[in-house]
Amino acid sequence: MNTRARVSRRTFLKATAATGVIVACGGPTTAPPAATGTKAATLSGTITVSYPDELGLKPKYVDKAATDLKAKYSGLDVKVDLQKISSGDYYTKLLLALSGGGDVPDVIHVGGDRIGELADAGYIEPLDRYVSQWEDWKNYPDAVKDGVKYQGKVWAIPYGLDMRWLYIRREHMDKAGLGAEWTPKNVDDILTAAKAVKDKVSGVIPYALYAGAAGDTGTANHSFVPLVWAYGGDIIDKNGKWIGDSPAVRKALDYYARTYNGGLTPKELLTTTKPWTAMRENEGKGTLALLFEGGWVYGGWTKAPFDPAAVQKNVHYVLHPTSTGGPSFTIGGPGTCWYVTAKSKNKDAAWAYIAQWNNKDTVAKLNIEDPHPVARTDSADVAEFKAQQYLVDSTEALKKARFIPTDANYGKVIGAIQKATGRVAAGEMSPDDAAKRYTDDLKQAIGADKVITQ
């Protein structure tokens, strides 16, 4: 399974980078037929499409796909179950339904990093027999296809890829005496800048580094994992063993200690519910100076109540630096995907819905509104997409992306990461002690045979 992850990282880079190139090439595109690739000539019955959306960007696309599919198959009814909750809460709720004995939705909408654990649990259906006949599948680069494969099978259809930026407020760097165009040369520079902001700019939070359980998956994906990478380490080795205590893990935890002990990130982040909501808002408004966050966050700042002109002027986005000043990087991922549940009683219709939804225009338009590099290359050819400099930059950045492991145990590893970072940030443990406990926690969570130290 990890071989797959490793192969996908390399090939994903090349192929997604090629997305930008392919944009220029374009090529003839046709509106995809609703249920291309579905064997059934006619579809009937009822399917339920379940998805979470707090921002309210997706409903019009989800509803349109439902309407279009129903128009094609008069005997088919599509019920849409919109959950206005966070994707984390949705996932827990969904797991309880999937693990229970009752009815489950036919189509679900979950992060691609969950594929391994969902497939192992038997909750989702492999889609190979559908994609093999789906005309549009050719528009997905091989690496994107690999990103949704687990144990050799395709399990989900992605539409917008994840990447992250280090956001820097120019005006605060200027006030802190670093100059408006300041960028970090190495990872420790971030803390130097945060300290300068703390000392010289009042009313501004210098830096937001997620830690503990409160930070949810952001603690891992937006903070700890990039730090371990920045210090030259990794969280999983070539043989698929998770790495506990290591020099890079200790350095990353020491970075946490310096951040929190130095008062550069308020400890409030450890107790706030959904701290990312407040931090994203603060960065957009200018009351936070430095934040490593999802590329999609930028999109939220380009509309009210934020001032798009001020955001464009003041928000600088750069890649994550390393400790040695080596090549900067970002973190990529398959983003949120559509899945067919294994318990679905109408899988052909469920697939038809996914195929209908993932058409060229929807994928382009949604990723303009909720900015992500597109999963299918022909969507990048849409003029409105190409007109967005930010999206072009994000797509370009994928060339320098490293990818989060898709191992089925990653969810449990995130729990251990939350404990380790929380302990250091709260001042309960030294970085070295927390690194040792991280090994113990990993062993307890996923089994001692799957954990090594370096």
Binding site: D120, A121, A426
Partner: protein, 310 residues
Amino acid sequence: MTAVGAGAVRPRSPSATTAFRRNGAYVAGLTPAALLLTLFFVGPSLWALYTSFTNKALVGLDAARPRFVGLDNYLRLFSDPDFATVILNSVVFVVGSAIIGQFVLGLLLALLLDHAERRRYRLATVAYAAVLLAWVNPTLIAGFLWVAMFDFFYGSLNTGLQLVGLPPVDWLGRFPMLAVIIANIWRGTAFTMLIFLGALKTIPTDIYEAARVDGANAWRRFWDHTLPSLRPIAALALLSITMSTFGTFILIQTLTNGGPGIRTETIALYAFHEAFRSYAIGYGSTIAVVMLALNAAFAVFYLRWSRARA
């Protein structure tokens, strides 16, 4: 949230038929409650007990094929270094907010209100309503009210500090346990107050008049007459608030989510985080079973204490 089982009455009747004839009405009356308790309390408890011996998970291979693992989860829990901290946190939270806070404050408020009502002070009703208001609020609302108070960025406390030129304080980061204890005292004191207020009204006033004639001062009247009359009800109040505080979940989750680190992680939150954040249902159930056992121990202790006093 927590059910309290009363001791069963065993009739010593000569035959089952006679017993049924004698107790039929009671049995019929109790059946719906017993069925509901079985369905919503005994059933889930037995399920949790069973699950605690398995490695059942919500995701991964353990979700598809859970195995019986014997006492593994219990061995893991008792060798888990965090568990001692979690138990200590729970004890501090229960002692601080239930026993010292709600119990003592509830008693004082009840005495004060009783005194005020006897003297027909008009403000007594206002004070009574104010205390009750905190209690009738849904816990989630109460939690958010205190978040609005303690929040570092937008909280009323820090806004106030900044208005007078003082720097903001990271209340929930620096004093997390104190913060959740204060919030829980505010939220739960009304319950104890109501119980004691009811009990105070049952104490005949002539006892006090006689004591006054004997020259007893207010303190002696309280110590010799009021307190002994309240003892039986005190055990019940303590039992109820200890158990409900032990299981407090929403308030802490809203305020600190167990953080920073695990400084406010109580046993109820720990069970939740393991079961629904790490998706280890078997291990989460093990924590829940231990919590149930501790609650049962509290119940036995208080009931014995109350009987001994009675």
